[in-house]
């Protein structure tokens, strides 16, 4: 059976050229439980949205919807002008998702894993791209070891390589520095940090780091938006209130 390749990625979207993300009253349920309730926000191209909220607030659900892994049950969800889930095929080449799970096969080496994803994303000159990423993340020396033999921090570095392998324009980052030592966290900064030039959605409980990197802040609790504002209009103490009390 012949499998047709979907349309190629859209042209790169430059910062300031419009909206990267638009959510209009998005609701998502798991059975009877509403994980997100009428969530609305928008994010400009090239900006960083920091998403805060206690466990179960709906942060991961939001990321998984933006990653095209979940569909919204109500509302409008648009990424780089493409409606989800209808135009998911246009969005997928543009998105890099760094989730809790590194999405790496334990019985393959780091290099084999990256080569596998490079084939799926049709990355041009994959060998040199992979070598570059392994070098930047300091994983070159252990690149041919099975992932099962690596520490969680090393696997996270490989996961960063996987997430940026295809040069995504939208980075979805769920606690990206989890398991990384300070040196590794600095090493991956060029790839997924503010200097990456990508539009970013950053889910973190590290308030200081999150606020320092954000252009905009979204705070969720029980699936509701409790704060959505430019970073200069919201303080760390406001965000702490999301975790421990009400936001003022």
């Amino acid at each position: 059976m012949e499998v047709e390749q979907v349309e190629p990625a859209q042209q790169p979207v430059s910062a300031g050229s419009g909206e990267a993300i638009l959510l209009g009253d998005v609701t998502r349920r798991y059975g009877e439980r509403e994980a997100l309730r009428a969530v609305s926000t928008r994010l400009a191209v090239g900006h960083t949205l920091a998403v805060f909220g206690p466990n179960g607030a709906g942060k991961t659900t939001l990321l998984r919807m933006l990653a095209t892994l979940l569909i919204p049950h109500e509302g409008t969800l648009r990424v780089f002008g493409s409606d989800l889930p209808r135009e998911a095929h246009r969005v997928r080449p543009l998105v890099g998702f760094l989730s809790h799970d590194p999405l790496l096969y334990r019985d393959l080496s780091g290099r084999e894993n990256l080569l596998f994803y490079a084939r799926l994303y049709d990355v041009p000159e994959p060998a040199s791209r992979i070598a570059y990423l392994l070098d930047v993340t300091g994983m070159g020396r252990r690149a041919d070891d099975p992932v099962a033999s690596l520490s969680r921090g090393m696997a996270q570095r490989l996961a960063v390589c996987r997430a940026v392998l295809h040069r995504p324009q939208l980075l979805l980052l769920d606690e990206p520095r989890a398991h990384l030592d300070p040196q590794a966290a600095t090493a991956v900064d060029d790839l997924i940090g503010p200097g990456s030039d990508a539009t970013r959605v950053l889910v973190t409980h590290d308030l200081e780091h999150g606020l320092a990197e954000a252009d905009q802040v979204l705070a969720l609790r029980d699936g509701y938006v409790v704060a959505d504002a430019p970073v200069d209009q919201i303080s760390a103490s406001d965000i702490r209130g999301v975790y421990g009390g009400s936001v003022t």
């Binding site: 059976m1 892994l69 979940l70 080449p93 989730s99 096969y105 596998f116 799926l120």
Partner: protein
Amino acid sequence: MRPVAAILRKDLVVELRTKESVPSMAIFAVTTFVIFHFGLDRDRLEGELAAGVLWVTLLFAAILGINRLFVAEREQGGFDGILMAPIERTSLLIAKAGALFSYLLALELIALPIFALFFLSDGFWEALPRLLVVAILADFGLAVMGALLASIAVHTRARDLLLPLLLLPLTVPVMIAAASATKPLLSIPMETSGVGKWLAVLALYDLIFGLLAYAVFDFLMED
């Protein structure tokens, strides 16, 4: 075809490295032959009994491999990685069916000579080319249905139970056709009349269920 090749290649490399599926399928098949050998208290089988023993054993051995087909994707997050990639989702079905087809062929390369050793007096090598045609057509149907149903069952807690419950009724036509096509080949003397009709039934099953799986897989992978 690039994503299909990438996923298939990954699966075969992982199987060669871990040896989790084919060896257990082969050991199961050989053990079952031993049990039949002593349970039936027969040194030699022929005709429909031989065909039945062979195909029932191969089907149950196949279930072991089908059960493990998506385990790496489920346990190591590969589902998300593949579903986020800009590829047709049916690539996953085709690659998984391709991997399972390879496992089944490998199983038969091991199991058929051992079956002949246990149960056939002679005529095995004469029947082998036609037997392989039957096996290839039956394997295609099993691989497609196995991959489709494994992709459903893997998301459930009771997947070890659910998979055989779904698979066995749906593969009854394959078993009937494969056993019926094999019966004259394992008769003494070997016959060839009637084989073509059952090969056509197998091919028809492969076509219908192949198209059906292709049509519904995208929907099954949705959310």
